[in-house]
Assembly symmetry: C2
Homo-oligomer: 344 residues x 2
């Protein structure tokens, strides 16, 4: 007699009793298996409606072994790059009748592992993971080997046999760099994420390659790799931009860095303007003055492709592992076209 008595949820037996049929017939109707007479279907549906029956998917999952659910793991689900990607995954999942579990790893491999465990305990049919830097292959490879569908996005985990969808980071960063060179710049700075982060390293490599291809000497004094959320970045940036023989252009290695940089540049507006190309597009890049030239990734496309790969595997496809590179696209908006000394 304590609390408001919550009416117990009706089960298929309750519906069966109400409709005067057997349990299995209710199951047939609920799952639209067919081979049930029109009258019976109507009677069962009426009983379902009247009792407010909803199938208990835990029981279904226990029996069938499928959760109709996939798990997403990102560093931070509120990062616009990942939330856009997640949305695209959701649309594909919906078409496959699947739901989405989402969790943020905070870039912590240990926590990431906890999430993988929690997801697999729940029997997710597959995982789409942007792995945290430093993720060991062990657990994931075990899952992959046990037949769990896994697709990596944005970053791979070497040692895990799983499909992977990556941006062409080297090519994109090289294109950004070449673009600045073509606009007359010779001293181009690069600000990227922590060197442990796969994309940061690849993008730095693309930058260096393009410099060399342009006959320019990479200069350590123009490169800084640090988490864009770190403290003291104003000093880090200032140390590069205010040195003797300073850069006349710069590249930021991801959207967090672009935004951090724009904030810095606004706070230090007395400095001579620098040409600026960001890796990854971001909202309002086109509205700023000058509008920000970017190498746009295609997060929605990456999400869609990753999800399609995943559901192919969930469906039992045995094709060889794929690694798909999505080419980024240079979007010229103004900030990257300020002429450098060689054109001045």
């Amino acid at each position: 007699m304590s609390g408001p008595s919550t009416p117990a949820r009706p089960t298929m037996s309750d519906v069966a009793a109400a409709a005067g049929v057997s349990l299995k017939t209710v199951s047939r109707v609920v799952n639209a298996e067919g081979y049930v007479s029109t009258d019976t279907v109507a009677a069962v549906k009426a009983a379902i409606e009247q009792l407010g029956f909803r199938r208990n998917d835990a029981a279904r999952q226990l029996r069938q072994g499928t959760a109709a659910t996939i798990g997403l793991i990102f560093e931070d689900q509120s990062d616009p790059f990942y939330s856009t990607l997640a949305r695209a995954v959701e649309d594909v999942a919906l078409a496959h009748g699947s739901l989405l579990l989402i969790a943020s790893s905070n870039g912590d491999p240990a926590h990431s592992q906890t999430i993988v465990d929690a997801f697999t305990s729940r029997g997710v049919d597959g995982l789409i993971v942007a792995p945290a830097a430093g993720t060991e292959p062990g657990l994931l490879q075990r899952e992959a080997a046990a037949g769990r569908a896994i697709v990596f996005v944005d970053r791979p985990v070497p040692g895990v046999d799983a499909d992977t969808v990556l941006a062409d980071n080297v090519g994109g960063a090289a294109a950004a760099t070449a673009h600045l060179v073509a606009n007359g710049h010779r001293r181009i700075a690069f600000f990227g994420d922590d060197p442990g982060v796969f994309t940061a390293t690849e993008r730095l490599a693309g930058y260096s390659r393009a410099l060399r291809e342009a006959g320019l000497e990479p200069d350590d004094r123009l490169v800084r790799l640090a988490a864009p959320t770190a403290d003291g970045l104003d000093d880090v940036i200032g140390g590069v931009l205010d040195q003797t023989d300073p850069p006349t252009a710069l590249i930021t290695g991801n959207n967090r860095w672009s935004i951090r940089m724009l904030r810095h540049l606004k706070a230090h507006a007395s400095r001579a303007p620098l040409a600026f190309v960001g890796f990854d597009d971001f909202e309002l890049a086109d509205v700023l003055d000058p509008a920000v030239t970017v190498v746009a990734q295609a997060p929605a496309e990456m999400g869609r492709i990753a999800a399609e790969l995943l559901f192919r595997r969930v469906g039992g496809a045995e094709e060889p592992i794929e690694c798909i590179r999505i080419p980024p696209r240079l979007i010229v908006r103004g900030s990257g076209e300020l002429p450098g000394p060689a054109l001045a």
Copy 2:
């Protein structure tokens, strides 16, 4: 003999057999129930490790009736307002050992209903919902009455007995309007979401109230309500801003509208500058020139509070239904302080 033979996932019986104990003892160890000798614990843990056992939560859920999962339903999980809110919910859920199912309603009440069904079939312990405009109370009230924990955020559903976390939309919009009046503006335009959207109507009411309190006559020619994603908004906006006796200031009713407006203003820069206050903060508002004055909501706080309310209910709390209003905060950045005619 088709495909790579996927090793069957080990169960508790397998672990029990390997460790030479009974099924129940394994269960005790896995769930840290205690009353197991140190040696036995060690033996069981070794077997778990060796076999790579993970508890099957579908079976657990079937028996216990709890999924350790909550469901989130938003219009669009990639909207920064909602993705920030979702992230805050996630942090609270994590502390309660719960995972997050997320789905986007696209503002469609029918699809929203499908999602609620899918979530409840899966036995979620609770729902956090930003309901689509036009949501009927029926299904949700049935769930609430059946004891499912529900918390509404951003918008209520009248007729459903559930806790609700809302912004003080009227107060916030009134503050934005009063701020512009105090800066000398007399003709202030308002661009908000569709009139079916709860927040749009409340914010419009706050705007009108503040005008009247300032002794100003609300003027229909200065107000437009439309989805910020609609086509042809440039004409809608132009129709207001380019009329005879045009406004000298404007308010946008949500972050999507703010961004839409900034894009329009940039494309029509020849027009005399208008004072501008946005409802809801957005990234880079501080970096634009002029920086955009906003009435900032607190999506993370709203998410945290909603989640805390939810888990209180999941835990069985029987307190009366609460409706919490979170006061927004005016952040003065420049765009809202351009002096109007009364101060010129």
